[in-house]
C-alpha cells in the first residue's frame, strides 16, 4: 500500500490532519519509518510540519525551549545546554542523533526514550497543540497529543545527574536509564530531588518513594541507603531481548547508588 506524506506549514495544521484516521506524525523518522519498515500497516499517511519554529532552540534567563523537531545532536552541541548534553548523547549513534527529535523521544516506547527520562526529571512543560501540560501529566496520556515544544529550567551541571546503562559501549539499547535533578543546600543536604527512570514501565516514570527518602539526606553512602532501598518501589520493568524485568529490577539500585555517589 502506498504511503502518502503530507507536509503542513504549521504544527496546528499538522495536528488537525492527524485527526483523519490512518495518519501518523513523523519527526525524524527513527520510530515511524522504522515501524513501516517492520511491516506496520496501521497507518497510510505520514503527517509532518516544516515550521522553522519547530527546529529552534531558545535558552533565555535560565529557561530552555526546544522545538519538537530539534535533534539530539543539536541539543548535544548547544553551548547553553551543556549540563544536559549527556542525556542527548545517550540516544542512538551519531546518525540517529542527527535525525531523532525531542518531540519523537517523548513518544518513544521503552526501551527507547532516554532523553524523555531526562525531561521528566527536569520537570519540563510540554507545549502541545491543545495546551501546555506538565510532563508527568503529558506522559500519562500522551497518545494522540501533538507536541510543538518543551521548556524547562536549565540545571547547573552539579544539579543534573544522568546514567544510561547498556550492554554495549559506547552505544546500545537501554537496560535502564536514570535522571536525577538535585536541589541541595550549602552543606550538601538534599532539599528536593526529582528522579526519573527509563525501562521501568512502558514509558518514563518518577521514583517518588526514593525522592521522599532522599530529601534531607547528604550524598554519603549511609545517608542515601534508604533512597536506594526505595528506588524500585512501583516499578514494572519490561522484559525484552536486552534484559529481563528481574534483571532490570536487580541492577536498578546498584546504578542508582553509583549515580548518587559519583
Amino acid at each position: 500500500m502506498p504511503l502518502a506524506l503530507k507536509t503542513y506549514p504549521t504544527i496546528a495544521e499538522a495536528g488537525s490532519a492527524l485527526k483523519d484516521g490512518g495518519a501518523r506524525y513523523i519527526g525524524g523518522g527513527t520510530l515511524v519509518i522504522r515501524s513501516t519498515n517492520e511491516g506496520d500497516v496501521s497507518f497510510s499517511t505520514y503527517v509532518r510540519s516544516i515550521d522553522p519554529v519547530l527546529s529552534a532552540i531558545k535558552v533565555e534567563a535560565g529557561r530552555a525551549t526546544l522545538g519538537a523537531s530539534v535533534t539530539m545532536s543539536a541539543v548535544a552541541r548547544h553551548p547553553g545546554l551543556s549540563a544536559i548534553a549527556r542525556a542527548a548523547k545517550a540516544v542512538g549513534g551519531p546518525a540517529i542523533r542527527n535525525m531523532a527529535t525531542v518531540g519523537g523521544n517523548l513518544f518513544a516506547p521503552a526501551p527507547y526514550g532516554d532523553f524523555a527520562v531526562a525531561l521528566l526529571a527536569l520537570d519540563a512543560t510540554v507545549h502541545t497543540t491543545t495546551g501546555d501540560l506538565g510532563i508527568d501529566e503529558f506522559l500519562a496520556g500522551r497518545d494522540g497529543k501533538v507536541v510543538a515544544s518543551v521548556s524547562f529550567d536549565v540545571p547547573s551541571a552539579e544539579k543534573f545527574r544522568f546514567a544510561k546503562v547498556s550492554r554495549i559501549k559506547p552505544k546500545g539499547v537501554s537496560v535502564l536509564s536514570i535522571a536525577v535533578v538535585l536541589d541541595a543546600d550549602a552543606n550538601g543536604k538534599v532539599e528536593k530531588a526529582r528522579i526519573a527512570l527509563g525501562c521501568m514501565a512502558d514509558r518514563p516514570i518518577r521514583a517518588r518513594a526514593a525522592e521522599k527518602a532522599l530529601a534531607g539526606a547528604t550524598l554519603r553512602e549511609e545517608d542515601v541507603a534508604p533512597a536506594v532501598a526505595a528506588i524500585g518501589e512501583g516499578i514494572q520493568p519490561l522484559t525484552d531481548a536486552i534484559a529481563s524485568a528481574w534483571y532490570r529490577a536487580e541492577v536498578l539500585p546498584v546504578h542508582f547508588r553509583r549515580l548518587l555517589l559519583e
Binding site: 506524506l5 551519531p94 535525525m99 559506547p170
Partner: protein, 160 residues
C-alpha cells in the same frame, strides 16, 4: 501508486526522479539511481550500513523518506573516489584490511568521513564513538578503527 517528483544532488550530480510516495531514500538510491553503495541491513536504524551524508550530516537512508530530500546534497561512498583515485578513507580501509565481507564498509566509511570532516585529528575514543552506530558482523572493528586513524594521519600529512 502515486509518484512524487524529487530533485537533489547525488555525489555532485543533479538528479530528478519521480519516486513512489512513501519510498525511503535507500530504495531510490539503489533501485532508481543505481548507487548500490548504501546497503540495506536492518532497515531499523540499528546497523548503519545505509549511512549517507545529507547536507553534510550523517543520516540513515533507510529511515529517510526520499520526498523529504528535495534540494539537498547527498553524498555516498559511491561518490568519494575522484578521477579514478580512491578517497584516503577508502585507501586506508584497503591498506589496513578493514573490510572482510565488506557489507558494512560503505556505512563505516561515511560515518568516518562525517567524523573527519568535523574533527580531522580524532583520538581512538572519538573514532569508536563515531562508528558506534555501525555494526560489523565480521567483528573486524580493530582494523576499521586503525584504518580511520591512518586516514586521519595521511590527511594531516597531506595538509601539512
Amino acid at each position: 501508486m502515486a509518484k512524487v517528483p524529487v530533485q537533489f544532488t547525488l555525489n555532485g550530480e543533479e538528479k530528478a526522479e519521480f519516486v513512489d510516495s512513501g519510498a525511503t531514500l535507500i530504495r531510490v538510491l539503489r533501485d532508481k539511481l543505481g548507487d548500490t553503495s548504501p546497503k540495506g541491513g536492518c532497515h531499523q536504524g540499528t546497523c548503519g550500513a545505509c549511512s549517507v551524508m545529507i547536507d553534510g550530516e550523517l543520516k540513515l537512508s533507510c529511515l529517510t523518506l526520499a520526498e523529504t530530500c528535495n534540494g539537498v546534497e547527498i553524498l555516498t561512498n559511491g561518490g568519494l573516489a575522484k578521477d579514478g583515485v580512491l578517497h584516503p578513507l577508502q585507501r586506508a580501509f584497503i591498506d589496513e584490511f578493514a573490510a572482510q565481507c565488506g557489507f558494512c564498509t560503505p556505512g563505516m566509511i561515511m560515518a568516518a568521513k562525517a567524523l573527519l570532516d568535523s574533527n580531522p585529528n580524532p583520538s581512538r575514543e572519538d573514532v569508536v564513538d563515531a562508528l558506534s552506530g555501525n555494526i560489523c558482523r565480521c567483528t573486524g572493528y580493530e582494523p576499521i578503527i586503525r584504518a580511520v586513524l591512518t586516514a586521519a594521519r595521511s590527511n594531516s600529512q597531506n595538509a601539512a
